[in-house]
């Protein structure tokens, strides 16, 4: 029975996974559900969909078509939501421009992304005037504004957004096309080098929406998102698709609220007046919101909030919970569209121990459906999910960027070994939660193991006669890398700590199983001082350049 070929379905009636397909059930079931923009505009899904048609017709009348890239520079608005649909549904690429970057970086990303059309909130007109000469590929500027009249500066405009829609037909024909067509692109800024572009196809974004809806719906009690929720983003729509929730919320047919530029007091007002129950933001914004809520004596009970972007600190989580916010962490990155994990609390953990709950809520969380998440050592061999073994988090999922735009070298590193590398070190606990323990730039790969430089530094600095210690990895033919410690002696103690003493100190921790024996540096160099970055951290880049050859 071997040697038979597999039966492969004909594609006669295949249904391509296109962003336009997210509309079917919502238009049938929730056409009158509301979409609210600040205190400025109230729409329904029926009208929103008409405006999506008008935007596409209007852009088409200006010559925009499949294959073009349309950049949007706006705060969170119904207009941005309209562009989330209209631009990809035309077969064009939506570039969500990060307006928080420097003007030079904004010009770089627009040029690199290839946008020929920009939809621009007039808040950014002064900035744009300064870089307009650096944007030779941009042919059309369309202004968006909440002011009367809009601020136009000296820019040459192809039109104003509302005028364009008013003059266009609702009946734009959105054809089927290849589901692998690129729908969006945006730029992520790393620690070094220019911003890197990621891109996502229709198929990827439809699967991301469906999996996100399934994952949020599967939660029994904590961490749910359902048809009765009211959604508002507080992660900008130019950042990793605002967690993809504008699409997911549309697919679920829920009420949506768009808050414009973030102002904590106004956000709190919208949460109360519009009955917002589900949102997401970064820790710093949560901090500001909690401050405003405390000042205004606002009760935030009933507000569910996913925290992403960086780790949710325990103290902040406690503070949020005390104010009634049902806060929990999410884990993802620009490269992953972004959803990978959510720290939903299981029903069995919801009772009793609030410290245990807080500890769960601050983890990276449970992996979303279809996410193939593994921990691997430096040789890409899987390490066990035993709550102890550390490994780099690598993933496969149906919605990960296929690489960086026009950057083959970085793309190859991103996907080394066929899995996408997160550059994070984690452990998977026996109850299935992922916990992040390190950034890969802070670890040293030696003898097939990950050694945390931060941990070795911490142990060294506990020695009485050590003022500070930095640990870097230096290349080694046999071990891949070996840790090198650079130690500043504490002159005040008078003691002249030695290389051997420090190694013995570390060996005691290795013998106790606290660190790997590979974590004991072969070489310890005593230096007068250590270079620091502007925020006071060791400048490891400079240290590596200086000591790489030793």
């Amino acid at each position: 029975m071997t040697g038979k070929s597999m039966h492969v379905a004909s594609s006669a009636y295949q249904y391509p996974l296109l962003i336009k397909q997210l509309w079917h059930t919502t238009l049938m079931q929730a056409p009158d559900q509301e979409i609210v923009y600040r205190d400025i505009r109230r729409l329904t899904y029926r009208r929103l969909r008409e405006r999506v048609g008008r935007l596409a017709s209007g852009l088409a009348s200006l010559g925009v078509g499949a294959g073009d890239t349309v950049g949007v520079l706006d705060w969170d608005s119904n207009r941005f939501l309209e562009a989330y649909f209209a631009v990809p549904m035309m077969g064009a690429v939506l570039q969500t421009v990060n307006v928080r970057l420097s003007p030079e970086q904004i010009a770089y990303t627009i040029n690199h992304g290839g946008a020929s059309v920009l939809l621009v909130n007039d808040d950014f007109v002064p900035m744009l005037e300064g870089i307009t000469k650096q944007l030779p590929r941009v042919k059309l500027l369309i202004l968006m504004s909440d002011r009367v009249p809009p601020q136009t500066g000296g820019l040459t405009l192809a039109g104003e957004y509302e005028d364009l829609l008013a003059g266009a037909s609702t009946g734009h024909d959105f054809p089927d096309f290849d589901e692998n067509t690129i729908a969006t692109t945006f730029y992520t800024t790393g620690t070094s080098g220019p911003p890197k572009g990621v891109s996502f196809s229709h198929r990827q974004l439809v699967l991301h929406s469906l999996a996100e809806m399934a994952f949020l719906g599967a939660a029994a009690k904590q961490g749910r998102f359902c048809r009765d929720d009211v959604y508002m983003p507080i992660t900008p729509m130019f950042h990793a698709h605002a967690w993809g929730l504008p699409w997911t919320a549309t697919l679920a047919g829920v009420k949506q609220v768009y808050p414009g530029r973030y102002d904590p007091a106004f956000l709190l007002k919208l949460i109360k007046t519009e009955g917002v129950t589900f949102t997401h933001c970064v820790p710093t914004l949560l901090q500001r919101l909690l401050g405003a809520a405390t000042a205004a004596n606002t009760d935030l009970s009933g507000l569910k909030m996913v925290i992403g972007g960086s780790e949710l600190p325990t103290a902040l989580a406690r503070q949020a919970l005390a104010l009634g916010v049902d806060v929990f962490a999410g884990y993802g990155m620009s490269e992953s569209a972004p959803l990978l994990c959510l720290a939903q609390v299981r029903s069995t953990d919801l009772t009793g121990d609030s410290e245990k709950q807080t500890s769960i809520r601050t983890k990276a969380g449970l992996a979303a459906p279809l996410v193939d998440l593994r921990l691997v050592d430096a040789n890409l061999s899987e390490v066990p999910a035993d709550g102890k073994s550390r490994g780099e988090i690598v993933v496969r999922a149906p919605w990960l960027t296929q690489g960086y735009v026009d950057n083959a070298e970085a793309s190859e590193r991103l996907w080394a070994g066929g899995y996408m590398h997160t550059d994070d070190i984690g452990v998977v606990e026996p109850d299935g939660y992922l916990r992040i323990v390190d950034r890969i730039k802070d670890v040293i790969k030696t003898g097939g193991e990950w050694v945390s430089s931060l941990q070795i530094e911490d142990l060294l600095s506990q020695c009485q006669s050590v003022s500070e210690a930095a640990v870097i990895g230096v290349k080694d033919d046999q071990w891949g890398e070996r840790p090198l410690a650079l130690v500043v002696r504490d002159r005040r103690t008078g003691a002249d700590v030695t290389d051997a003493q420090l190694k013995a100190h570390l060996k005691a921790f290795a013998d106790a199983g606290v660190i790997s024996k590979y974590g004991i540096p072969d070489k310890i160099l005593f230096v007068e001082s250590l270079p620091k970055t502007s925020v006071g951290k060791f400048d490891k880049k400079q240290l590596r350049e200086e000591y790489e050859k030793i």
Copy 2:
């Protein structure tokens, strides 16, 4: 900006939608969750996945490989669940054999589906002995049994299921392959002709699982399925994938209970002892269950139940609700994998009026995510969703069968005009619920409209001097079809009702807007009697043959 080609993603790191991908998150998060088979076997997901590996290794050791078709004849069991995964994951096709058909039909479906291997519950050994000579393509029989020793009859066996697993390795390598590879096939019996085979690819079943999980999770209160539920099928696993829920439940990582052959008293016992909260069945089985529950004075509060297969009668729904069953209808068919709609009750309709709730619960329901469901007239033009306009329900979704196995003519009819035809007539109410009002075989397509023959028959039979009336469509060059009425006069009244009187009677209803004016037959023939089927319905097939030429 026209003439640019679209940006299509490279497929370097594409993630094929394969059934094996449903395992990732469950093995990470719920490895110790239970899978229960009657009072016979308790497994965990970890062990179930090992058994899936063993089944694949065992089958491979017998020469089974990609492209082969493996038939299963079993009641609902963990073995069937193992085959739901192992067979498609090997690249082979799982044929779920309907054991309720006649032996001749079973032989027909096995031959037509091309199964070369059968996994057979020994309950079917006597039946199989009778048809074994009609199955020349079957090379291997593997017995499954809950008896010691199994009943083998005179069959030549390649092995016993548990022996096969015990001797096989857990570490079968399941490679990636084309997501459009066929994963399953099964046969649906119509009103005429031999059973027709449908088939589904990996991509389709993964998307069905994800959309089903999202749809069931989106419900705020009524009609939910979440991580805390305990699932048990009461629709056989050989019928339309048991609503796809064995895969969806595995993806969600919930406890699952498999009841074997259905016995109402034993089903009730399992529901109670295992804490089952979510199931699905057909109306006749619900009736039997409710009877058994009433007899045993069993409270069924907390049991959610989707009713499919045929319409959920209002009286039965009321009876179920009175016993605490959270009952609601689902709509789908073999050709649609099967999920299309679920009659979830919105939170706003859950309070107060129980009659309104019952009416919602008995509708076909709301459409699942990504389902493009339309009502069309006889010319395939869309009719409005206004709660009044009737049209044939046609659908597109990412999981519909691409046609019938080796039956080009029926496949073409199924997909006429690029939409899949359900052969049902429905209305979509303004609140977005689909309601089925007719079967297409009972309607007449005339002048671009659907006319219900049942409605015309009903109106005719309301005339005092009419004993019975049947209405059929006869071909018409101008109108497509025209209704022809065949009337049996009521001799007891003595009145000799005329053609003109009956037409005038119908015209009054047409003028009042109750029926279309096209519904008034051009010809009314008076006959002595009307042929009936064995269940007492008019034999329309015979009538059409007899009167087609008139």
